[in-house]
Amino acid sequence: MKTSHIKFYQTGTYTVGNRLLSDADRSVQSTMERTNSLNSGHRACQGCGEALGARYAIDAAMRATGNRLIAANATGCLEVFSTPYPETSWQIPWIHSLFGNTAAVATGVAAALKVQGRDNTRVVAQGGDGGTTDIGFGCLSGMFERNDDVLYICYDNEAYMNTGVQRSSATPPAARTATTQAVGRSPGNVFGQGKNVPLIAMAHEIPYVATASVADVRDLEDKVTKAMAISGARYVHILVPCPLGWGSAPHDTIKLARLAIESGLFPVFEAEHGEITGRRHIRRQVPVEDYLRPQKRFAHLFKPVLQTDRLAALQAVADRNIRRFDLLEREDQV
């Protein structure tokens, strides 16, 4: 499938839609027919990145499967804000079992569909970073290793937001959470810890691994669509800023995701069978400071005194990503 970054006319490359494109080339989110798999009336906070990312991803998966999709959902914000009795926001067959078993539940769904011969119905498992990189990691790894026919989507907002913003293994260094308070000699989360699940997924040599964000819906949809065209275990890791946990303005959700990518702190790439096959180049590189400043969880880096050494350490993280994932477009690649 083609996912190269063509210019969708000058005004439409990065926008959600473009009236000048043919119907087939339009993003799912721009269509009037999109399924709104996660419907209005959910109880997510204002400007919730996860609600947005989930609708982007599941709507795309719905289109890719002709609306024949079943989702398993981990405990977490997404589950809580979408399904408080007596109301559900989901428009698709959806099951929530536990916090840490979502990948396994999805395996069970896939196994059932296979044995029943319902081959045209596909399975998505989804959870937050806590449910994915921490408590659900065993089941996730098992699902990967068996190459079960499941697309697992992690909505990464970099902490346990549902329980009140505690550190997860996806929390970035220096970030303030309720369990990595901005106090003491090295305030915020520890440097040198954390888990890169996309890379771990690649180590399982599963058919498809990708990262994406709510800042680039076309890229996200392309990846989900591509994932749905593949059988076996697939993993898509989506950065979804959280105004509550990050201490950011609700209207900055997409901007922050964009800055995370443009700074190099969140590399956007895809891999097949353990090999990186594509990356989204940084378009307008920014220093990490531009990304960190609007977030209260990093406020201690800027006041009462500017923490230049810690900022430099975070910049080094971004620089390493840029080298490692080859995120800067070189002249010969244009």
Binding site: K7, F8, Y9, Q10, T11, G12, T13, Y14, T15, V16, G17, N18, R19, L20, S27, Q29, S30, M32, N36, L38, N39, S40, G41, H42, R43, A44, Q46, G47, C48, G49, A51, L52, R55, Y56, S82, T83, Y85, P86, E87, T88, S89, W90, Q91, I92, V217, P243, A249, P250, H251, D252, T253, I254, K255, R258, R284
Partner: protein
């Protein structure tokens, strides 16, 4: 399915939860005034016709353009396009080539023979004096409003300064003729060689209900230069006017043009084409103070025109002139230095500005101001029913301004004929660059219109600037950022985490569903063109 109680729910049931009650601010759609439109003296809705051109709907685009401007092919060549200087895209990469697209649309219309229908007959008759841009514009707009129009032109052909002032290499006459013919085809009566000597008498004799004056400023301003041979000093208006006839002006090998405006540049370039080996613009101030359009100056220099700054002409002798070097004072005004120089010159052309010929206005006793006819906000002189515009009235003397005057006057005349007063619609707030989210626009450099081969244009009067072909006109139109006006990019529809934006379908834009909008403001922050704003909820 007999569903288990509470743990299993019917899909989509959350619609019962109206999250709009969380909101403290609400987003609202609005149209902001794009800077191009704001600066267009002809009052064109540039952003709107580019919107249609982006889709390749050229005729629709042209018709939107024609709503304001009857001469797009002319304008696409001679307008100094302040819209492009104001264009927000200029801060992103390069401004949109609005003028090129306008010319493309204008030429396309001439090629395809697109016509404009006159309005339903009102039974009113309006007299238009002068067939320059102001007069033609007034005639065209009045005709669209259904009035009978007669244009009186003293010369033997219509066009005014467009025919007798602007060199052919900038405005080929077939283009001008084509656009005038289209106006005439709407039923405008054109009387050439019809100088009006007594306006009031003519109006009464022919039963006109109103009149628009657009006779321009035809008299070249003179400066006192002691001259041994007065024949060697001429003025720009005469030179350029002379270009329309069969006998071209004789200027000699070395031509000095005195002045710093666009007319000076036109004459200097014309002199080169007439065979002058040396064509020098002498200007008393510096390049940056020169009123001429930078692009014109640049092309002139490319063609070999020379420029001599901080210089005044003190005297003209046979084959030479004496000039004095100037220097700028603290206020930026040139002051004499007492240093003189003699330079060779076969002729001197004065391009120091033009004055209005007040002769025909004497019977009307119109109030004048700084040499121009004074008009009110609706372009009416202090003589009821007589309106004026173009170079006759105060303002920048360009074709664009004149066309704008003609349109405004036509609408005011229409109101006046119906016994009402013309009201200008209030303007929307400006769509400044800061209102945009420019992330969403991809990099797309401006297309440059082909420039005629240099040698060829030094010696001929062929049009210097070529036009865009359809491919690059489309490309250029699509560079428009659509500042302040929804271009249906679906971004608001996409980025709402609550599905609270309803897409109404092509051409119908969007609507907020306030039942569910939580007021997060993402749509406002991400709208590329600044067409949404947040307003506080009422308490």
């Amino acid at each position: 399915m007999k569903k288990p109680f509470a743990i299993t729910l019917d899909v989509g049931s959350s619609l019962a939860n109206l999250t709009g009650s969380w909101r403290t601010e609400r987003p609202v759609y609005l149209d902001r005034l794009p800077p191009c439109n704001a600066t267009c003296a002809a009052g064109e809705d540039i952003q709107q016709w580019l919107f249609h051109a982006e889709e390749g709907a050229y005729e629709t685009a042209w018709r939107v353009l024609m709503h304001d401007n009857p001469l797009p092919a002319v304008m696409g060549r001679v307008c100094y396009h302040p819209c492009e200087s104001a264009c927000n895209r200029g801060r992103l990469d390069e401004s949109v080539g609005i003028n090129s697209v306008e010319r493309f649309l204008g030429d396309q219309a001439l090629k395809e023979g697109w016509q404009i229908a006159p309005g339903a007959d009102t039974g009113k008759r309006v007299m238009v004096v002068g067939s320059g841009p102001a007069g033609l514009s007034a005639a065209y707009h009045l005709r669209r409003l259904g009035h009978a129009v007669t244009v009186f032109e003293a010369q033997s052909a219509a066009g005014g300064m467009m025919r007798y002032g602007i060199p052919q290499y900038r405005l080929p006459r077939d283009v001008l003729d084509g656009e005038i013919a289209r106006i005439v085809d709407m039923g405008v009566e054109l009387r050439v060689d019809a100088e009006v000597s007594d306006l009031v008498a003519t109006m009464q004799a022919d039963g006109f209900d109103a009149c628009f004056l657009g006779v321009g400023a035809q008299i070249g301003r003179r400066a006192y230069i002691p001259a041994g041979d007065a024949n060697r000093i001429t003025d720009a208006v005469s030179v350029l006017h002379g270009m329309a006839g069969d006998d071209k002006p004789l200027l000699g090998r070395r031509v000095v043009v005195y002045g710093g405006g666009n007319t000076a540049v036109d004459v200097a370039r014309t002199a080169r084409r007439l065979g002058a080996e040396e064509s020098i613009i002498v200007y008393r101030r510096t390049a940056d103070k020169m009123p001429a359009h930078a692009g014109e100056v640049e092309e002139a220099v490319e063609e070999g025109v020379k420029l001599k700054w901080l210089t005044t002409i003190k005297a003209a002798e046979s084959e030479t002139i004496t000039v004095e070097k100037m220097e700028l004072d603290d206020a930026g005004f040139p002051q004499p230095t007492g240093e003189f120089e003699v330079m060779p010159a076969d002729s001197v052309v004065l391009a120091l500005g033009q004055d209005v010929d007040t002769q025909m206005l004497e019977g009307l006793d119109l109030e004048m101001e700084h040499g121009s006819v004074k008009v009110d906000a609706g372009m009416m002189t202090d003589h009821a029913g007589v309106f004026a515009g173009g170079d006759m009235v105060d303002g920048e003397r360009t074709v664009t301004v004149a066309i704008g005057h003609g349109k405004k006057a036509a609408r005011a005349i229409d109101a006046w004929l119906r016994g009402t007063v013309y009201q200008v619609a209030p303007k929307n707030e400006l769509a400044t660059y800061e209102r945009l989210n420019t992330w969403y626009y991809s990099d797309a450099e401006k297309t440059v219109r082909p420039v005629l081969d240099l040698i060829r244009r030094q010696s001929t009067f062929d049009e210097v600037r070529g036009g865009l072909d359809e491919g690059n006109a489309l490309y250029e139109a699509r560079r428009c950022l659509s500042c302040g006006n929804c271009f249906e990019c679906d971004t608001c529809y996409g980025v709402c985490p609550d599905n609270a934006v309803i897409k109404l379908g092509p051409g119908k834009r969007f609507r907020f569903n306030y039942d569910y909008c939580k007021g997060c403001g993402l749509c406002v922050a991400e709208c590329p063109c600044g067409a949404i704003k947040m307003v506080p909820e009422a308490v």
